[in-house]
Amino acid sequence: MTTVEQRTGLVGQGVDRVDGPLKVTGAARYPNDFSYPDLAYAALVRSTVAAGRISRLDTAAALASPGVLAVITHQNAPRLERAPDSGLTAPPPPLQDDRITFHGQYVAVVVADSAEEATAAARRVEAEYEPAEPILDMGDPRAEWITDPWGTDSSRGDLKGALASAEVRFEATYTTAANSNSPMGLFSTVAVWDGDDLTIHDSTQWPSYLRKAIAQVFSLPEGNVRVLCPYVGGAFGAGLRAWPHIMLAALAARTVGRPVKLVLTRPEMFTGVGHRTASEQCVKLGATRDGRLVALAHESTTPLQIEGTQFEPCTAGSASAYACPNVITRDRQVRLNIPWCNFMRAPGEAQGNFALESAMDELAYELGMDPLELRLRNYSEDNPRLELPWSSKSLRECYEVGAERFGWSRRSPEPGSMRDGDSLIGYGVAGVSFFWYQEPCEARATLRKDGTAVVRSAVTDIGTGTYTVMTQLSAECLGLDMAHVTFELGDSDLPAGAAAGGSGLTAAVGSAVQAACRNLVRAFLDTVRDDPTSPLQGCTIDEVSVGGGRIHRIDAPESGEAYADILAAHGIGELSADGSSTPNDPKVAGMAPSGAFAARFVEVRVDPDLGLMQVARVVSVVDAGRILNEKTATSQIMGGTVGGIGMAMLEEIVTDPGTGRVANATFGDYLIPVNADIPDMEVAFVGRPDRFNSVGVKGVGEIGLVGIGAAIANAVHHATGRRVRSLPITIEQLF
């Protein structure tokens, strides 16, 4: 079977988002937009110490407050089971004991008739603590260290010997601050019980997992729980875990026997749904005089909460970034009394790339070489760690196209040598890779008697464009107009879906959608197999193609039959087929699975008198394999770039060193980029369809953030001669 891709060119086109009209009219319904008759509201009480035990909880005043229905604490909460791991440990269920492990941990939930009453009463819960000395600093000798937490550490060749004998050596330490995902949508849960059936509206990126998790917490059969999330107000990784507040909303609803809505406050978003960890990283490089890397060591230490895991491999990308024979990469974690560490757009890579690509820039200056040339000279054609060819890699083209578009050749090498009026100008570049990731996924395709199709999978569209690109892909696979295809998601009752995470969703669900659509065409061929009146009688899937709402013979395109006609002729109301995808095996496929690659070029302008720094323009050239929708893919890269500018120049979670309290947990204090911070951005895609999945895509959700930190820091050095090895780069570091 072939598709009509070449003729319609539907996939790839920058069509408008199919959910656009709903979003611009306020009609798209996010979890906290749902209401029910007799809805009650919950508000949370959080611990005011980072370590220790609750010594006294007095809920009488709260209970006596107007409208209050219940106050649940560890003293009266029923036993909840631990949610299953998703590959990562789930946070423990809340209110099960008196132990406190971070400032902001939930100690009570108050349920009332209105949100105002719940909020007011929550302030009346009196908690006293038997505090312990919290561990808040990675240098604290009491802290527990974890080496090689995920088995990703790597070693090849003889690093020590190569470093010792290298003609040029460079070593430096880099740090990055903790960042907050801070999606605009306050994470919210609306929980509704009907007997032992539980429906949850939630801000999740992974409804199939959340259903399993909540079912286990409440000891229910999985089929009793339904998770709904047709729209999610951003998440950037924060929606990948089954957070305690979700369990509390369900518990509150069961306790009061009414539907309950729980909307986290903005300050609670900083402690309750994870954050990107800070990092301390050391990079050692050894090179020949002519710029060939002979040694590369990258070691990272990141904080971790007191219990549970987080996958944050800051150094793993360095093992395969460059063709270098002697390499060591090491990650360590240190347990602290801090809120949960979790995925945030480009976990690990965001921090790790800053260190590696800053160090490469510094080495280029040591060598007196163009930083771009140094990267090209050490380009790895194959994956040097797996010693397999990449499933696709057009990073060289990214550099070349990017340099051309940016005007890299106009750069004069000497720091501080480029000016425009009062401004110092700096050019910076960074090379970027993002790791490959894919999960199993299922989908179902259905054709109805009116000739329209609906394709379904329990995945999410957190703003990435899944609704739109899967509609395009389904339409292509079935030979239908986009207007005749609906893609449904955001409901755990649909076929089990992969997480919107790890930049792996489009490959996972796209492959499942392709399979389901192909199986659906097969089902139509089965239907007409013995039908002498059908021009498709006896055709195999490889003998037909689709287009214009019909299946036709490849050898005789005029011989075909419309889906609707087949259904009508055989008295069938609708026909469905399932499809699934599982990740390929690199060894079987004989190739190293590639994530996206990119080259980032940044111009900064620095006013040396005032210390003001501005990113003036960004050129990003990305190899993300096949692009399903140029418009939404470009938006993903631009959005990631905005996140990168935030990480590079603004964002830092400040933890009070005495108490472990997050001291800047509001948008007034934790600064994220605003419109005026963002310059003109140019995005271009290069490369070919990837060979590792049937859709040919490599995810675009995270690559856009990676490399911006290093490119900005490198540009700052070029502008000012000052090397900043710590993010965010703030005015006091410049002068």
């Binding site: 938006s635 948008f667 007034g668």
Partner: protein
């Protein structure tokens, strides 16, 4: 406001206020807890959930609505303050199912991703044009900086506003 005693613990009772809200041209008579914000009145009492709560602290702009023609943060406005004022929300922008020019431009330019800040961005953008502050890209960027977008659609938001401005604007 009086104190009553429940279980020996003093509890401040809650003042109720009667208010008539005029939203998108229709009057709604509400009996409200005096603490209810315009945002919560719209969302929880009137079921108009197009206006979003992003911070409830006046720092993100997601809750921007128009009150008497001016952009206002509905999370920092008590519903009781809006008696006799004209409130326009995102639900009131499209006329008879036809999208406002700004809504159309936002779709065409992909000026949103998750869509959560979008109602506030559009209300702000419509007011911006009425204020005459969209003369240049830099001006648009400055005067739209009260509306945060974490997905990072800023460039496309500027493009959408620029297009509507160049087409002669659209009187909200």
């Amino acid at each position: 406001m009086a104190d009553d005693m429940t279980g020996g613990v003093p509890v401040a009772t809650v003042a109720r206020v009667g208010v008539t809200l005029t939203v998108n041209g229709a009057d709604y008579r509400l009996d409200l807890d005096s603490r209810v914000t315009l945002l919560d009145a719209l969302r929880d009492r009137l079921g108009m959930t197009g206006t979003k709560k992003g911070c409830d602290q006046g720092a993100c702009g997601a809750c921007t609505v128009m009150v008497d023609g001016k952009r206002v943060l509905s999370c920092l406005t008590l519903a009781a303050q809006c008696e006799g004022k004209d409130v326009t929300t995102i639900e009131g922008l499209a006329a008879d199912g036809v999208l406002h020019a700004m809504q159309e431009a936002f779709v065409r330019h992909d000026a949103f991703q998750c869509g959560y800040c979008t109602s506030g961005q559009i209300m702000s953008a419509v007011c911006l044009l009425a204020e005459g502050r969209a003369g240049s890209d830099d001006a648009i960027r400055q005067f739209m900086s009260g509306n945060l977008c974490r997905c990072g659609a800023y460039g496309n938001i500027v493009a959408a506003i620029r297009e509507v401005r160049d087409a002669g604007g659209h009187d909200a």
